[in-house]
Each structure stands twice: as C-alpha cells, then as structure tokens.
C-alpha cells in the first residue's frame, strides 16, 4: 500500500438485493458497482462523471463507511472502509447535493457549530471558520437565519460549508451543484477550487453529471456508467484520445427516416448521434478523418435532407462520453427526469 494514496479501491463491487414485498422469495439483484479500481493520490480533485444510476452515490457511500461493499475492498486515508471506519471518520467529511438537510429550528451558525463540535473543534475556532467559510461561499448575511427559512439552494450552500468546516483530509462531494442555479453553482465551484488551492494536501472526490463541471474543475475524471469505470484520466488526456478524429456538428432539416445506425454503417463514421432540434435535427458526427464527410452528405442528399449549418469543432468531454458510453449524457438525464 502506498502511503500517499488518499483513496484506493480494488475490484470494488456492490449488489443491491431487492425483495418483492408480497412474495419474499422473489429477489431482484441490481449491480450498482462492478470491478471498480481507482487510485487517487493526495492533493487531487478527482471527478466521477456518470449518468443517473451509474453508481456514483453508491461508491461515495462505500468510501464514507455508510455502506459495505459486496466484493473487493477500499481504503480511505490508508484504512479499510469495512474494518476501520473509526479511523476513517475523523479524517473525512461528506456533502450530498439536491437534498434539504439540517435542523430547521437551528440557525445556520448553530447547525454548523454543532457539527464542528462532533469533530472536537473548539468553539472559538469553529466560529471563526464558520464566518470565514460563509463569507467565501456568499452566505455570510444569513448566519443568524433559521435554516428552515433558507431556500433549498442556500441550505445546500450551508451544507457544503459543513463539509469543509472540519478541514477534512478527504472530502466527498456528491453532486454538490445539483439543483443550484447557474450563479450559485459557479460560486460553489470557485469555492471548492479556492479551498484546494489553499490546502494543497487535501483530496476531493466529487461526483457530477455536468460535463463542464468535470472539465473545468477536476484534475482527473473517471467516466462511470452502469457501475463500471470506462475511462480514467485528466480531462485533457481524455479529449486528446479523440484528437485524431474529426468532429462535426451538422444542423439539418427533418431527418426523413434517417437513422444514426445507417450513418454509422458508412466507412469512416465512428459515431453518429441524432437529436431533435427546433425545426429539424442536430447530427453529431465522430469521423475517422475528414474524408469520410462526403459520404455522409451523400446519404443526406439521397433522403432529401438539407444541411443548414455545419461546424467542425474541438472534442469535449461530452464527445468522450458519447464515444465510451454510446449515447450522450444529456439524453439520459432528460429521460430520467420524465
């Protein structure tokens, strides 16, 4: 075991067993995580990027000692998550986004002070940090507000401060910007980055299903889907994988029965994704090289589909995701929200 690994997992897996309510003999198994091998050195801001149900929260729960894995092992700060939770807990903290937690009848300051007490932080130091962190995240004017009187977004900011308050060696942020508006999300991202800059030996593991967040914020990103880690590298390196390919966005009129599969059958077409757009459709292409483009245009013309706009662009994490998972992240989100 290497001492400077903040987090290490080996063939980590988790299966949930769901029993049927009426007939207890009927069981369903859900594989939430499978063969996850991660090595996260100290000082890294590591991102887990994946669609709903990918297993992000499950992984965080295992690493924060809330949930036992069914296979493999995991170490946090050098300690085994199953056998040594008491050693891990003083060194970590956790925040989940998209939920309104906290004692509504306590003020923001009291809520935070209380959690600091659990970690044995002296009151005066706790209060100093509370004021400082609230100011940084833009919540200082609400310090004496009862937390039940805060909006969901502000409550989430309070919750985020709770995570940082104890100055953890390793911090787990599960979708910290979920449900926040654009400005608040930006505040939070800046806050996380600044904190890490000020504390270079701290480690943050952050989950998200926002591409930009992973791209902008993280030193390294693991792309996770259906419980498996499909790729793990820095955002730049992940994108570089696609650099040799040619990426085109084509705005077209109604597709007239054209399918992505038909386009992918063409030589040189790596990936084609067709999504509805206003008054037509958007076709995203990953081509082995530029010379594959004419055959695509040919097919479009055959079907009387007109090209309205065509751009060639640099690869984004979104493209990497599509390449690995086979479908865009946004599509998945939309489906889940319905």
């Amino acid at each position: 075991m290497s001492i400077d690994l903040a987090i290490e997992t080996h063939n980590l897996g988790r299966i949930y067993t769901i029993r049927n309510r009426r007939e207890r003999r009927i069981r369903k198994e859900i594989i939430a995580l499978q063969d996850v091998n991660l090595q996260i050195p100290r000082g890294e801001l590591f991102g887990l990027l994946g669609p709903n149900g990918a297993g992000k929260t499950t992984l965080i729960k295992i690493l924060t000692t809330l949930l036992a894995p069914t296979t493999g092992w995991a170490r946090v700060a050098g300690y085994d998550v199953v056998r040594e939770p008491q050693k891990i807990r003083p060194r970590i903290n956790m925040v989940s986004g998209g939920e309104a937690s906290g004692y509504g009848l306590l003020t923001v300051r009291e809520n935070l002070w209380m959690f600091a007490q659990f970690y044995g932080l002296p009151s005066r130091e706790a209060n100093r940090r509370i004021e400082d962190l609230l100011r940084r995240i833009g919540l200082a004017d609400r310090i004496h507000t009862k937390s039940s009187d805060l909006s969901t977004g502000l409550r989430q900011k309070m919750n985020i401060v709770r995570g940082f308050l104890t100055d953890p060696e390793i911090l787990f942020l599960d979708e910290p910007t979920l449900g926040l508006d654009v400005n608040a999300a930006r505040d939070v991202r800046r806050f996380v980055r600044e904190w890490l800059d000020a504390h270079p030996d701290r480690t943050v593991l952050l989950t998200t299903h926002y591409m930009v967040e992973a791209d902008e914020l993280c030193d390294r990103v693991a792309i996770i889907s259906q419980g498996r880690v499909l790729a793990c590298d820095s955002p730049e390196a992940l994108k570089r994988r696609l650099q040799r390919e040619a990426l085109f966005d084509i705005e077209i009129t109604a597709p007239n029965g054209l399918t992505a599969a038909a386009l992918e059958a063409l030589p040189g077409v790596r990936k084609a994704v067709l999504t509805d757009a206003s008054g037509g459709a958007l076709l995203k292409l990953v081509l082995a090289e530029d010379s594959a483009l004419p055959s695509v245009i040919g097919v479009l013309t055959e079907r009387a589909v007109q090209v309205r706009h065509l751009t060639k662009r640099e690869p984004t994490l979104e493209d990497v995701f599509v390449e690995l998972v086979g479908r865009p992240l946004a599509e998945e989100e939309g489906r889940d929200e319905q």
């Binding site: 000692t65 903290n93 956790m94 937690s101 004692y103 009848l105 959690f115 007490q117 044995g120």
Partner: protein
C-alpha cells in the same frame, strides 16, 4: 491546524468522543424539545399535558370504584402512572432520535460519518426528554398530593432509596431506549411508532396501573422479566412507605432484593444494547439503510 488528539481510537479518545457526542446531542435535543413553540406556550403545554392524562386516570378510577380515593390502591395507581411518564420520555426519547434524524432532518448520514460514538449521541438526545419528563412527573405528583390526597409525607419518604431507584431506573430506561434505537436503524418509516408501541405495551406489562395478577397467566412471566415492574415498586415503596402495598404482587421481596433485581436486569439490558447496536449497525451498513428515507 486541527488538534491531532481525536485522530486515533485509544481508550481516552473513545471516552472523549463519547462525552462530546453526549454533550452536543443533549444540547441539540434541548433545542428541538423547547424551540418548537414560544416559551410561554411551551410552559403551559408542559403543565397541561401530564395533568390532563392524570385527570383521565383519576376520573376513570373514580367511576369504577365509586370514589374510593382512600383505598391504598389509589396511590398505587397514581404513582405508577406518574412515574411511567419517564418510560415514554426517556425510552422513546432516545430511540426517536434515529428516525427523527433520518427522516425529518436528513442528517443521520452526516452524524454517522462524524467521529462520534453513536450510542452516546442517542443517549444525549434523550436528556431533554428526561428533563421535561421530570417536570411532568413533578407536576403530576404535586396535583395528586394537593388535590387528591395521595398520602405523601416528606419525613416518611425513604429519600436515599428513592434517589437510588430513580437513578437506576432512568439509566435502565435509557438502555432500553438504546435497544429500540438500534432496531430503529433497521426499520423503515412506517414503523416509526415503535417507541410509542413498546411504551404502550409495557404500560400493561409492568404493573403501572394494575397488578401483574390481572394479566393472563402466559403474559405474567413477561411482566416479571421487565425491569420497569421492579422499578415502579421501588419508587412506590420509597415514597409511600408501608402503605405502598396496594397489591401484594411483589410484597415477598425486600427492598434490597428489588434493587438487586433491578440492577441485574439493567446490566442485562446494557449488554443487550451493546449487542443490538453492533448487530444492527453492521446490518444497516450491509443493506444500505443508514440514509434510507421513505419518500412518500
């Protein structure tokens, strides 16, 4: 920099963790208990609630016995009912914290990942209910003595026995609460009344308002296995002296024997609490129940 002292789990640190868990939980419990309404209403409510429930009992007793308030059975029932308030307060108070934190405040997982001693935290959450419960008991007793001729003579009270029994009893109730709290870790929201349900069942099983003889024979052993039975008897004896024998169920035991039984059963419940917590804690982590919320 952070103090490094809480970093390891050597014994003194475990005690330090237990103490801060207990202390902060007691503070939190008091905030929750007292802050839900303004102080004036809180005080009124704290007085009226016990008086109302005592009044119901007194009226029922009066109707059934044609007003035999001089009969020693009356103080037996009155004191049993008054001190039973502690069962609802302490036992239910401790176990309620799990469900409250998980379902209502959604903080259980954050408390769980903190370096605290969960059982000490739960015990702490019961302190506020113990205090408000004590107030309720006091009010009920005062009403009984002032208006209902419950025979109470401060010079005839066996104070040492009373204080000893009370302390032992409250600890015993807290340990029973821990057992319930551990079980609550494993159950879903719709069983949230488990604390109340157990408290209600024990009201009938531990001779609070009628003797164990009234129970069907197959239920009696359960009554005799409950520490609350002996505790209530000790409380009555210490407060009333010889006229406490409204019913003869336990009159064969000396005070010392009763204390011994109570202490023994309390230790047993203490061990049960440790085992239950370890078991339920492991199960809850294996099944992922710690932050499970029922989304209705």
């Amino acid at each position: 920099m952070r103090a490094a002292s809480y970093r390891d789990t050597r014994l003194p640190e475990r005690w330090a963790a237990a103490w801060r868990s207990f202390r902060v939980a007691a503070w939190l419990g008091w905030q929750i208990e007292s802050n839900w309404t303004d102080p004036f209403l809180f005080a009124i409510y704290s007085m009226l609630k016990p008086l109302a429930s005592a009044a119901i009992l007194v009226v029922m007793y009066g109707v059934i016995t044609n007003g035999q308030f001089e009969n020693p059975v009356f103080p037996y029932i009155y004191l049993g009912n008054a001190f039973y308030i502690y069962v609802g307060a302490v036992m239910t108070g401790v176990s309620w914290a799990v469900i409250d934190d998980r379902e209502h405040y959604r903080t259980l997982k954050y408390i769980y990942v903190a370096p605290i001693r969960i059982p000490a935290y739960w015990l702490g959450r019961g302190v506020a209910r113990f205090l408000t419960g004590s107030f309720a008991v006091l009010i009920t007793l005062a009403a009984g003595v002032l208006f209902l001729h419950v025979p109470f003579h401060p010079d005839r009270v066996d104070w040492p026995l009373f204080l000893l029994s009370l302390t032992l009893g409250v600890m015993m109730l807290a340990l029973m609460g821990l057992v319930l709290a551990s079980v609550s870790l494993m159950i879903a929201h719709h069983f949230f009344l488990i604390g109340e349900a157990v408290a209600g069942a024990l009201y009938l099983l531990s001779g609070a308002i009628f003797p164990l003889e009234v129970l069907p024979p197959w239920l009696r052993p359960l009554g005799f296995a409950m520490p609350i039975t002996y505790w209530l008897e000790l409380i009555r004896r210490s407060l009333l002296g010889d006229i406490a024998s409204g019913f003869a169920t336990l009159s064969g035991f000396t005070n010392g024997q009763l204390l011994g039984i109570l202490a023994g059963l309390s230790v047993l419940f203490g061990l049960l609490a440790v085992v239950a917590f370890r078991l339920c804690d492991r199960q809850a982590r294996e099944k992922g129940l710690i932050d499970q919320t029922t989304n209705y």
